[in-house]
Symmetry: D2
Subunit: 372 residues, 4 copies
Amino acid sequence: MKNSLPRASLRELGVHLGQLQPGPLNAITDVAGVRVGHATLVLGDGPLQPGHGPVRTGVTVILPHADNLYQEKVHAAVHTINGFGKVAGFEQVRELGTIEAPIALTNTLNVGLVLDALVQHAIHQNPCLGIDAHSGSVNIVVGETNDSYLNDIQGRHVRAEHVWQALVSAQGGPVRQGAVGAGAGTLCYGWKGGIGSASRLLAPELGGFCLGALVQSNFGSRRELVIGGVQIGRQLRHLQEPPPTSPGSIMIVLATDAPLSSRQLQRLCVRAAAGLARTGGALRHGSGDFVVAFSTAERLPHLPASLTASRAVLLDEEPVMNGLFLAVIESVEEAVLNSLTCAETVIGRDDHLGQALPLEPLLELLRLDVLK
Amino acid sequence: MKNSLPRASLRELGVHLGQLQPGPLNAITDVAGVRVGHATLVLGDGPLQPGHGPVRTGVTVILPHADNLYQEKVHAAVHTINGFGKVAGFEQVRELGTIEAPIALTNTLNVGLVLDALVQHAIHQNPCLGIDAHSGSVNIVVGETNDSYLNDIQGRHVRAEHVWQALVSAQGGPVRQGAVGAGAGTLCYGWKGGIGSASRLLAPELGGFCLGALVQSNFGSRRELVIGGVQIGRQLRHLQEPPPTSPGSIMIVLATDAPLSSRQLQRLCVRAAAGLARTGGALRHGSGDFVVAFSTAERLPHLPASLTASRAVLLDEEPVMNGLFLAVIESVEEAVLNSLTCAETVIGRDDHLGQALPLEPLLELLRLDVLK
Amino acid sequence: MKNSLPRASLRELGVHLGQLQPGPLNAITDVAGVRVGHATLVLGDGPLQPGHGPVRTGVTVILPHADNLYQEKVHAAVHTINGFGKVAGFEQVRELGTIEAPIALTNTLNVGLVLDALVQHAIHQNPCLGIDAHSGSVNIVVGETNDSYLNDIQGRHVRAEHVWQALVSAQGGPVRQGAVGAGAGTLCYGWKGGIGSASRLLAPELGGFCLGALVQSNFGSRRELVIGGVQIGRQLRHLQEPPPTSPGSIMIVLATDAPLSSRQLQRLCVRAAAGLARTGGALRHGSGDFVVAFSTAERLPHLPASLTASRAVLLDEEPVMNGLFLAVIESVEEAVLNSLTCAETVIGRDDHLGQALPLEPLLELLRLDVLK
Amino acid sequence: MKNSLPRASLRELGVHLGQLQPGPLNAITDVAGVRVGHATLVLGDGPLQPGHGPVRTGVTVILPHADNLYQEKVHAAVHTINGFGKVAGFEQVRELGTIEAPIALTNTLNVGLVLDALVQHAIHQNPCLGIDAHSGSVNIVVGETNDSYLNDIQGRHVRAEHVWQALVSAQGGPVRQGAVGAGAGTLCYGWKGGIGSASRLLAPELGGFCLGALVQSNFGSRRELVIGGVQIGRQLRHLQEPPPTSPGSIMIVLATDAPLSSRQLQRLCVRAAAGLARTGGALRHGSGDFVVAFSTAERLPHLPASLTASRAVLLDEEPVMNGLFLAVIESVEEAVLNSLTCAETVIGRDDHLGQALPLEPLLELLRLDVLK
């Protein structure tokens, strides 16, 4: 089977899902100020030598803004769909409703080292950290999925320098998707998955807000994949031997410029599960399915100058909340699918195959339905 | 438009969704011992006279078993998908992990009276209640959705005698679905909804467990409805003027004979949202979306004779947990759809129309896709 | 044993606990606008005739302000310390972070009827309720404790008219405490408990905010009571035969004029448990221990005129948050103790005795310690 | 002021708090099989050179049993009292209700490196980890408090070898308390705090179960400390200049041999806050207050051989649950106090003083009250 079509997002391939319009980039970076950076580690081939390779992993960082996040925090929320996973940093977000450092995604066994690297980064930016009584600590959110089918995960090959590299390369503009960064070695619905992103805009009368999603996809078995209601997975599953179903997981990051409180952002997080479900996701036992959401609408100074502040807040009304909820559902759905259509085939440890979702037969199937 | 086909479940209409097999009744009553009873209130016609009618409402009760539930409790869990609703009894289920009374569904403003009636019922069954120090109280779970488009909801027409009637009529066997009981006046995806049920069986090597769902459906706008991946809502929405989108809600009750702990039952509850999403559900702001789950595998005596007991428990393993999760997703999806295909047209207050989902065009559309 | 001292709050008796100053009334009504109303039901004597009396119960309502709460909601939060109880209305407060009706406290088996009465009240104030699509429902928070040792709880003697009576009588100013309203029949630490209230003021440099607590106390065994660190319970327990330990419960309502979000109010709720613990509370298995908190600082219109609003918010800073937290702890501690020192002896069903905490020996014991 | 009395636990000093009897060691190791290990890092003196010292920190590990925890997991639960902290591993415990690796405590900025070391340890014990599809990942629980007043916390001086050292040294028997392990550099109520432990036994008729607590104490200001109801903090606070109040935190680990489910263990966790409150704890804004509980009664195989298992479970009954709850409250209270009475004075970075709680004046004050 050949894949002559270049890898591209579903929409670039001509498939338009959902009711809402995407932003210009159809990516989380449509939310002004948000930056994404990757460090991709691809080293070695052949049989697994635990601790030594082959390496198919990486780290992806999402920055709510380009300035010092510790000094200028953003409102945030977290949500656990299925907690079979190793995220760090959730308790403090639940309590305080803020993000104060770059969000990082990596592989399951690398959470510790990536967390430590981001602590180091925060110290570098804030030399008072842990010294000044008013800046005692920093909370780091790290998410993960398990890339062990392709990657020597025991090696914990993502080190501090890769985190720097991801941070330094972080930028607005188009997001590199597929087998990059934290998505270098992940599988989704039995095909090569990885990083995917998408966005939606609300109508001007609903505030014209932008909502974007970025996922690290690593879940599902081949027969489950659904695109636009079409049972793609079932129809394509015989093209090739699928990899054994592994536990899998998904990390979902949501960004918006709507002025939401942490309570409202938490409500957004809950809706991400419906986006997953639209792609056929069955919320499996072994899947660590986590959501992080933040709003860029306001920056909260680390050391406020006053007791109270005046804040613009979105009111909990049907049309606008439903608009945001639908934006979450559609963005997450499309981000998952983009992680598939963007990812190139990756051959990993022990010659394990992470086969790219074949685009020609996909489009042929969709043409009969969604594209008609 | 005429509906010459008799109202029936989706599967009776020849549409088979999902991978798993349903139980013999394809209803929550496939879980041995579970009983369902309805009292349906239909009175009067014409303009709304608040407090006086017309009445299109009712109550539905679900009994985990036919004996005294207070004396023989069952393991249970609850979950809130979206909390814009008025369920009662959730806190104690969260703390103790048990159900000790019939579960009742009714309309939004009737929760108080139905709760009181079930307290009265519990006293009747257990004369010591509130007298004996060891039987101080009883926890009642009542769920609701808002039937105010068709019903004089201000009237709170469901009284104690209707609850008795539902309890007395509760039985195993086929479940009456559609515009009955608590579903008498509800709308779903802009069509007449109501009570729906479905079930799934696990393979013998996964324990052969049975899982059933019963829903009181009252959510969604017409354009959102999806059946088997087909955008039914969009294609049928011009057949007729839809009702104005109302806040809506859904109550979901899950039953299983698998020996699950309250923690495991809670995990089942979380998966119900994916079943909703498969039908197009967008988890709207104004929707009270709640799930209650129980296991019939063990009965817990109100006054135990010993400190500890020996209990058979299901272990948290991939295949069986995933089987149960998929059973939840498929049962909830099909129960929602059955509430639509079973419901007859209901004309309510102010001649508001709850139009039955037209079956012929539905099947024609599905024939092109799911049924091919 | 004679009680020649008139019943009074602990502070009126000369015992000053805590570091912070109370407001002028030392009651929840120190928070401007808050009103409290009681209806107390005392009927009959002698042997229990289930359903007929004797009656020692009632209802207490707390109004965040005197206007239409449905049209002008307030920010709120709820918290469950131990969920063995039957509160209603918690799910919607968790989701939306608002209170939109009077908060009511009553006995365990009366939650349904009180809830229904408050629905009726909301309809009376808002005739559109359940008719207008934008006003489909109302969320009612009802709390309860179990007064069955003194009261014919099976009778559910609190009816709609008693709720009206409590609402009509609700006022600012001093709060009647002890064996009144929902506290008519409750026991606390083996003595007669009931309604108690207290308040604390923050220093002007911390915003000068006011925080008040009101409790319905009904928990604990005699030997556990601690006042100002003194083991009062142990030392007074032999004065008289204590009642058998009953399951017990406590409802705690917190009010503040600080401009807190629902997230911050939830943090306040969590601290209430420390106030309980200071009085010796052991958070028993059978106790339904619940907290509701609201802020009067902002009113949220039911139908907002715009998408966003500007809001003054308190920033999460050490001194002011710690001040509020301490105010919660001290107010709850003192409110519990006031419910004891204010309550008169009540003789209930079957001549069960709810003995007033004897003040002379109490003060004598405290004089050696706290008062020295 | 001289401290001629040797540092010792409160009970060894003759002060007996609470109603229940401690186990023979009055430590978490009274729960059979539980092991505790410390690595204490004390290096350098004088001015802080960030990243280089002086070092006053460490790591403490708690092992539910001495065998391979990944292969033989234990039932567990977690609870967040105040989430201003950086614990790792909580989400998976919430979902699955198990602990599968040693629990580690360390300083706030060292969570990443300690987590990574424990991943490495799990790989060492289980070479299949991350390779075999059935052993994809391991969940590590790491807690922390902030020792930056005495320690060069930026240096993250706890490395993998210190974790090995703590693991290797872990043993049953008496627990070293005070300024050891993760408690080397922490402060509590303005005095030197650190590791503390205590235990309680239930009466034989309540199953004779044992419950133990271990804390890493690092919270509170001097004036708040209460022992046995006596305001020790206020009376001793002028002995010496207290350190500036820092944010502080506490980690609490509970162990029991009672056969509890994760739901029941979670209920135990909630009661820990009442133990804190008895010592004067005010649950401050900046405090990360977390609880982890496990039961040694059953071991759950990583790869079960069957779908279901038979399990002895404790039934939720008043006397035994209340006994366990009281055991939690008393053990946590006494563990916090033992961390104070056991800790020696520590002089840290910049000659910051962590003054040992002076025992003579303490006992003199208590003699007037508790000891009389």
